[in-house]
């Protein structure tokens, strides 16, 4: 059953690879996305019992996160259709096929209960995303891809090494090298301490590179800046998520080995560091797509901070995965529209978009406010939960720094966003804007994402909260 979450998209990818029509092909995206979403919903509503030894399984953690990715993908897929219609000049065979493949691999990564399998899925996603990044085919796009690949590749290597170390830790601790998380957790204190710590550092850096935690975030602005908005949305909402769940799963093993305190400290430090770096970059950046990348770095920092705050914090972080993913999606999509219409992404050239693309601009501004924790949108609630968890667990100083970083990030974001939305558009941009029409196809999806974020904030269903707490129970088993 849960295997279909992986199989269906991969089959769809294969289908897309052989599909003849360049115009009809994009429709595969929403089709597969819909099926995937329905399956996910079904599994979410009645979760299957996962065999402890299973390498793949729709376990509580997957249940707590995967639906968000599926939802995000569905909306982005709907956007993709009209986007690819706008970009009909480019062949989209590879694009569609790999987008679907990414979905499949993401589902695999979220469900992986085996260290090796998790690694394979994550890195497969990384590689599958490469052609999506240089869809635009400009030299800048290739430069971005090259950096994404080498920095990401280093991450790949390190996380592989980390996995080896964890494996050796179990081997050295007398285990017979079974790398399912269940087995590793069961071995617990039996794992050899030095190897476990080495493994933790390597895996944190490796998967942190994928998440885009500072200082391993350097690929992010280039990649998000040059990739199409839809790809950015899925990278920021899906790929980073899989890396985060990977870290959570590993963190559970480390915790079982009795090194949870150290793990939390490292998570806290790197999280705050990422937020600080992101805030400093946001204060100065002049490119609104790179701005989104830095904001994403900031939110990865928030996630890692939340993960460092124990059970309540992790629950809040899972909540934040949802809210941030969906809100960021809206931002990326509307930013894509604005980028198309303005013909540039730099503050220095883009002005007065509230006149050229009023709807996208409105969505962009609202999304910016939403992502900077303006109530009643989702991120406000999740971040407030993190704050409360931190204060309850006595991390006053960390929370103070957290709030400070949020404030500076807010300054940076508002500066850029209002910079491009207000004022009078340039004449060159006017001509360009004429060519871009704000059809329902490019407006409704981001709007929908905003509504979802709103809904998550105000009327977050109890089942979701229950799912998150179940995931927390899985990660922090209390005997």
């Amino acid at each position: 059953m849960n295997a279909f979450l992986i199989i269906v998209p991969l089959v769809g990818a294969a289908l897309a690879a052989v599909w003849p029509g360049n115009r009809t092909r994009p429709w595969l995206l929403p089709a597969v996305g819909l099926v995937h979403a329905v399956l996910t919903l079904w599994l979410f509503v009645d979760p299957p019992t996962v065999a402890p030894t299973a390498w793949l399984g729709f376990d509580p953690l997957a249940r707590a996160v995967l639906p968000a990715v599926s939802l995000l993908f569905l909306v982005c897929a709907a956007y993709g259709v009209s986007y690819l219609k706008v970009r009909s000049e480019r062949p989209n065979r590879v694009f569609v096929a790999l987008l679907l493949a990414v979905l499949g691999l993401l589902s695999a990564g979220h469900q992986a209960r085996h260290l090796g399998l998790l690694w394979i899925a994550t890195e497969a996603v990384t590689l599958a995303a490469v052609p999506l990044l240089h869809f635009n085919g400009t030299p800048r796009a290739f430069e971005a891809t090259w950096k994404y690949l080498l920095v990401g590749g280093t991450g790949i290597a390190l996380s592989l090494l980390g996995s080896f170390c964890l494996g050796y830790a179990s081997l050295h601790g007398g285990g017979e090298g079974d790398l399912t998380f269940v087995a590793l957790t069961a071995q617990g204190a039996g794992l050899s301490r030095p190897w476990v710590l080495t493994a933790w550092v390597l895996l944190l850096v490796g998967y942190g590179t994928k998440m885009g935690l500072a200082p391993m975030h350097t690929w992010k602005p280039d990649a998000y800046g040059e990739a199409p908005g839809i790809v950015g949305a899925i990278l920021a909402g899906g790929v980073t998520t899989v890396a985060f769940t990977a870290i959570l799963r590993v963190r559970a093993v480390i915790g079982a080995a009795g090194e949870g305190a150290i793990a939390d400290r490292t998570l806290l430090v790197i999280g705050l560091f990422s937020m600080l770096v992101a805030a400093l970059f946001l204060l100065g950046t002049r490119d609104f797509k790179r701005m989104l990348a830095y904001s994403s770095v900031e939110h990865m920092g928030i996630l890692s901070l939340g993960a460092a705050l124990g059970g309540a914090g992790v629950a809040a972080a899972l909540f934040h995965v949802w809210t941030n993913g969906l809100t960021k999606g809206a931002l990326f999509l509307s930013a894509g529209n604005i980028r198309r219409a303005a013909g540039s992404a730099s503050m220095d050239e883009v002005r007065g978009m509230s006149i050229l693309t009023p709807r996208s601009a409105a969505i962009f501004v609202t999304g910016m406010f939403a992502v900077t924790a303006l109530p009643p949108f989702g991120p406000f609630f999740s971040e407030l939960q993190i704050v409360r968890a931190g204060l309850a667990s006595g991390h006053g100083a960390a929370i103070a720094m957290f709030l400070g970083c949020l404030l500076f990030a807010f300054f940076g974001l508002t500066r850029v966003v209002f910079g491009i939305v207000d004022g009078r558009p340039r004449t060159a941009a006017r001509a360009n804007g004429k060519r871009f029409v704000e059809t329902a196809g490019v407006i409704v999806p981001p709007l929908l994402l905003l509504c979802l974020s709103l809904w998550l904030g105000l009327f977050c269903p109890a089942t979701l909260r229950e799912a998150w707490s179940a995931a927390v129970a899985q990660l922090f088993p209390t005997p």
């Binding site: 550092v201 490292t266 770096v277 109530p375 406000f380 409360r388």
Partner: protein
């Protein structure tokens, strides 16, 4: 039964938000009806109905909606409704569809949203929901301030406001989260004075709400925002919005225990705001900025009263605290009324002449007598002169301070300087508004624009008359407003509700009435006498100077010269002087500008330093892949070291 009224108000405002874009007339009706209903509800609670409380089963953000309207919130709600309604009427003529086709509809929607969100701020009693409506209120205010988005300085002012208010909100994030973490729930059940562990939270309250209230060092956003906003927005911002900050401080200093130092700090902040705020006001040349800074002063007066009350509370529940608190609460109303009136007046001047520079105006009384008269009335009120409302509330605060001094307790040492500073502030307020009204309305027009001004229509005059009525009413019959004040004081501190009407208030009221009558009589008498004796019009004698010339009149800078000299240390005026040369000087020049000292001399450099840091850090993203990989390795090593250190214990 305030419930139904509030429900109606809510419904009316929400409908207003919906229909506001298209149907302006219907919108106006709805807004007025809604505010009236809200006013009614507030009045019922203030005049003795039981607190209105509503715990619903309806949950938002996983928290049950819980509304409450008690004395304190009703006091502020009444003010909100009065100004909200008046402003809506005023806006119709001041910001008409035909001049602002784009922004007028937006303005209507945001106005309803602003009034609604402020009303909710006053009624919700759940920490989470408070934060929500608080932020919504901030955003609505932001979009109203930047209604005229095409102007750069408007956008800058709006951004500054947004940034400052967000900084305040961060403090409130921390405050409410700490409260929730310590009490275990977001719900605000009401007084929690016994929870001693909560007292330290007061500082967060002061910081968070102080920014919104515009307490002196935190007022940086206030002048430019009030000056650049459309005048009806300035009116509600200055009359009501900054009172929301006061509301927060009053509310939570009433519900939570306060640290022993709280009273001292608040009274100190208040006195400082009063004195420095008015010093800045006096030095301004832009009359809307002058009004804005005067708001800082009045917030200061309110805080002095509140601080005295806190002192009384922490020093054995002294009686004088009640007078001070009553004064503070009454001043919330007084300031709301006369400041809105003044901003409306300022708006009609701006509307008629298109300039905010007092040195470009003058002689407007001839063309706009109504505005002149009402502005003069407002000036008397804001200067705290009898027989108007400003004096009544300041008088109560003074009484509290005097009693504190005569009690010779430790708190006298706070009350004594506060009283003296308040006196100086009062004198300077008088000076500032003598200057403002004289520069704008008296003498000869200094420019063509001033010469060809025109009186505002009934749509703008009516709200002004209404507010003027409030000013006079509080001034002449303070006794009528006492029950409301007592009720609010009662819900601030349970023991203080029973306070009987202070006899002096009756005497003061009657004296005021007598005074008003005599003033009118004497003026009329002298007027008639002058006419019966024969009245000739002639050129200003001015010691026989033959060819007077409008540019020769005293301008605002020269009028304020002496006092701004005394405050040069904080005002730091920037002067540009080119003296006349030779026997027949061609030209001479004297420019004077009073900078936003705190903003330009403190915040500016700090933020510049931060930006330098940011620029240096951003150098690291220089595009060289080799270094990016080096960063990864560095991160690896750093985390390794961290883990090694962590492994040690």
């Amino acid at each position: 039964m305030p419930g139904p009224l509030l429900l109606f108000a809510f419904a009316a405002l929400v409908t207003g938000i919906v229909v506001g874009v298209r149907m302006s007339r219907l919108w106006l009706a709805l807004t007025v009806a809604g505010t009236t209903a809200g006013f009614g509800a507030a009045l019922m609670v203030l005049l003795g109905a039981a607190d209105w409380e509503w715990r619903s089963g309806f949950s938002l953000g996983d928290e049950l909606v819980h509304l409450r309207l008690d004395g304190v919130s009703a006091l502020f709600l009444a003010l909100l409704c009065v100004v909200g309604g008046a402003g809506a009427v005023y806006a119709r003529e001041y910001w008409p569809e035909k001049h602002y086709p784009a922004s007028a509809p937006r303005g209507r929607v945001w106005w309803s949203a602003l009034v609604l969100s402020m009303g909710l701020v006053l009624t919700v009693s759940n920490g989470l929901h408070f934060l929500i409506v608080w932020e919504l209120f901030a955003i609505c205010a932001f979009f109203l301030i930047t209604l005229d988005r095409q102007r750069r300085e408007v956008r800058a002012a709006g951004w500054l406001y947004l940034a400052a208010s967000h900084a305040g909100t961060m403090a409130l994030f921390a405050f409410f989260s700490l409260l929730a973490a310590r009490t275990g729930s977001w719900d605000l059940p009401g007084p929690m004075r016994e929870r001693a562990d909560l007292s330290s939270l007061f500082w967060l309250v002061l910081a968070g709400f102080g920014v919104k209230a515009g307490v002196f060092p935190l007022h940086i956003w206030l002048p430019s925002a009030h000056a650049n906003a459309p005048s009806h927005v300035s009116a509600i911002m200055s009359g009501v919005a900054i009172k929301m900050g006061i509301y927060g401080i009053v509310r939570f200093s009433g519900w939570l225990p306060v640290p022993a130092a709280a009273g001292w700090v608040v009274i100190g902040l208040g006195a400082t705001s009063a004195l420095l705020g008015i010093a800045f006001a006096f030095a301004q040349n832009d009359f809307k900025r002058l009004l804005a800074y005067c708001s800082v002063e009045n917030i200061g007066i309110i805080l002095v009263g509140l601080g005295a009350a806190l002192l009384a509370l922490t020093h054995g529940d002294a009686v004088w605290g009640r007078l001070a608190l009553a004064g503070a609460l009454l001043h919330v109303w007084s300031h709301g009324a006369f400041k809105a009136l003044l901003f409306f007046g300022a708006g009609s001047v701006l509307h008629a002449t298109g300039t905010r520079e007092m040195s470009r105006l003058g002689g407007l009384w001839r063309t706009m007598p109504w505005t002149a008269g009402l502005f003069a009335l407002g000036s008397l009120a804001v200067s705290g002169l009898p027989p108007l409302n400003g004096f009544v509330s300041e008088w109560l605060v003074y009484l509290g301070l005097f009693d504190a001094v005569t009690s010779k307790g430790p708190s006298a040492w706070a009350a004594l300087p506060a009283a003296i500073m308040l006196a100086m502030a009062g004198a300077m307020a008088m000076a500032s508004f003598a200057k403002a009204s004289a520069m704008i309305f008296l003498g000869a027009p200094r420019t063509q624009a001033a010469a060809h001004a025109h009186e505002c229509g009934m749509g703008m005059r009516a709200p002004m008359l209404m507010l003027a009525g409030v000013c006079v009413g509080i001034g002449l019959a303070p006794i009528l407003f006492w029950p409301a004040i007592r009720r609010a004081a009662g819900s601030w501190c349970p023991g203080w509700g029973a306070e009987e009407t202070p006899a002096p208030l009756v005497a003061l009221g009657s004296v005021h009435v007598a005074l008003a009558v005599l003033i009118l009589a004497a003026a009329a008498w002298l007027w008639r006498k002058a006419h019966t004796n024969g009245l000739r019009r002639g050129m200003t004698w001015d010691c026989g100077y033959a060819t007077p010339y409008a540019r020769m009149q005293y301008v605002s800078a020269s009028f304020a010269g002496i006092v701004s000299g005394w405050f040069r240390w904080i005002l730091q005026p920037e002067r540009k002087i080119r003296r006349p040369r030779g026997h027949f000087p061609e030209e001479a020049l004297r420019l004077e500008r009073v900078p936003e000292t705190v903003l330009e001399r403190i915040i500016g450099p700090v933020s510049a330093a931060i930006m330098r840091v940011s620029t240096t850090v951003r150098q690291l993203q220089h595009g060289r892949l080799q270094f990016y990989i080096l960063y990864v390795v560095a991160g690896l090593i750093a985390l390794g070291v961290l883990v090694l250190l962590g492994g040690a214990p």
